[in-house]
């Protein structure tokens, strides 16, 4: 199954790009942040050509819009908070798995490092509760974390504990001071930098001594139990839709479309 995540930058006409993107990528599950266009129009236009996606109604997380090939009654909500939603998503070969959509607060709005640590710890605890509740740890977390893969809340053991290599993440957990911390694998490290453009999913330049310019705020991280089902070559940052670039000539995201680039990946 193919998954798409995109922060659509509150673009009221994003459907112009989103609809062909969903078609072109043949997405089964779509998660959107900052989506403000008309979702009913989007679904109607998709269905005109026999492409049926359904809106999964949100309960408490209104920062994520979820569409899926499965009818809403088949996607079971498990938990939701302001910044994330946890659902039990059907899957064609796995039966089902946990899917977590995330849109953490923005650093541009005064949220400090401790906010991200607190949010990440809270998210991890809720995920572990959900995994225990449904007896399944094939968990996929995707979204706009507003953090880079190397930041402490992404890597720290008590927080998301998402590790850049399968070799290390495959152990599943680490024990620190006699306490066990479960791990995730973060494949986004593979897409960082300019060997293959785009160099990240979000470009931001500021004055000051430290600026990365390119950031990888939009990420998918998975449990090691999904290694056999995760096709790493399917993980891509999308920079054009039907031949129309989502980036400027300098390779940076076109702000007229969205300041973030979409990501796609497959769980088979």
């Amino acid at each position: 199954m193919k998954y798409l995540f995109w922060n659509t930058f509150k673009n009221p006409e994003i459907n112009t790009f989103l609809e062909p993107l969903i078609r072109e990528q043949e997405c089964d599950v779509v998660l959107l942040a900052e989506y403000t266009d008309n979702v009913i129009d989007l679904l109607k236009n998709l269905s005109k050509n026999d492409y049926s996606l359904y809106l999964i109604p949100p309960i408490a997380c209104f920062r994520i819009t979820t569409l899926s090939i499965f009818k809403p009654g088949n996607v079971k909500p498990i938990n939701s908070r302001t910044h994330f939603t946890i659902m039990q998503m059907p899957h064609k070969t796995l039966g089902f798995h946990l899917l977590v959509g995330v849109h953490f607060p923005s650093k541009l709005h005064g949220n400090d490092h401790l906010t991200f640590i607190a949010e990440s710890i809270d998210l991890k605890q809720c995920i572990e509760e959900a995994e225990n509740l449904i007896g399944n740890n094939k968990t996929v977390i995707v979204g706009d974390f507003n953090m880079n893969p190397f930041e402490e809340p992404m890597v720290g053991a008590l927080a998301l504990h998402s590790i850049p290599t399968q070799e290390e993440a495959k152990r599943g957990n680490r024990i620190i001071n006699k306490r066990q911390y479960s791990m995730f694998y973060n494949p986004m490290w593979n897409l960082f930098g300019d060997k293959n453009m785009p160099a990240g999913t979000y470009y931001y330049s500021k004055s000051g001594h430290v600026t990365y310019f390119w950031n990888m705020f939009d990420q998918v991280i998975i449990r090691p139990s999904l290694f056999d089902n995760f096709d790493i070559d399917s993980l891509k940052i999308i920079d054009k839709v039907n031949g129309t670039p989502l980036v400027n000539t300098n390779g940076r995201p076109k702000q007229q479309i969205s300041d973030h680039l979409p990501i796609v990946f497959e769980i088979t």
Binding site: P57, P58, I59, A60, F62, K71, P72, G73, N74, K76, P77, I78, N79, S80, R81, T82, H83, Q88, A118, I121, D122, Q125, E128, E129, A130, L133, I134
Partner: protein
């Protein structure tokens, strides 16, 4: 030897945060055609913000027909004296109630009751409860 204890231990005429929430929880099913109920539970994991407290609870909303779903309205903790009570509130509700932070202390029973009234009447609570009711009516749930 005579007893060194005082003659009577009168229970304080004070309602604990848990008692107040349990009373309030009983109202919810009646208001939602038995679709939504509230539970007060003790979480397994203790967040570092609450590590120095004797008692820790969560107030969750659950749907009668949404088997595994829960919405945590707030987490609260107190010591043996019940008040002050430390609260961690859902972020959207905090903003709606004009709080600058979503983690804060309430000094006494009066403050706690007044706070709960604001929370229960927030738009986010209405939206969540309505959504749980609607989803409970979907086929397959």
């Amino acid at each position: 030897m005579e007893s060194l204890w005082p003659e009577l231990f009168n229970e304080q005429d004070i309602k604990t945060p848990t008692e107040i929430l349990e009373i309030q929880a009983k109202f919810l099913p009646k208001l939602t055609k038995d679709m939504v109920y509230a539970e007060i539970v003790q979480p397994n994991e203790v967040h570092s913000a609450f590590i120095n407290y004797d008692f820790l609870f969560r107030l969750n909303l659950k749907g009668k027909f949404l088997e595994n779903y829960r919405f945590t309205v707030l987490t609260f903790a107190h010591n043996i004296s019940f008040y002050p009570v430390k609260i961690q509130l859902d972020k959207d509700i905090s903003v709606e109630c004009g709080m600058t932070e979503n983690r804060f202390d309430l000094k006494n029973e009066y403050e706690f009751i007044s706070f709960l009234k604001d929370v229960f009447n927030s738009q986010k609570m209405r939206i969540v409860i309505t959504a749980i009711m609607k989803l409970s009516n979907l086929p397959n749930f």
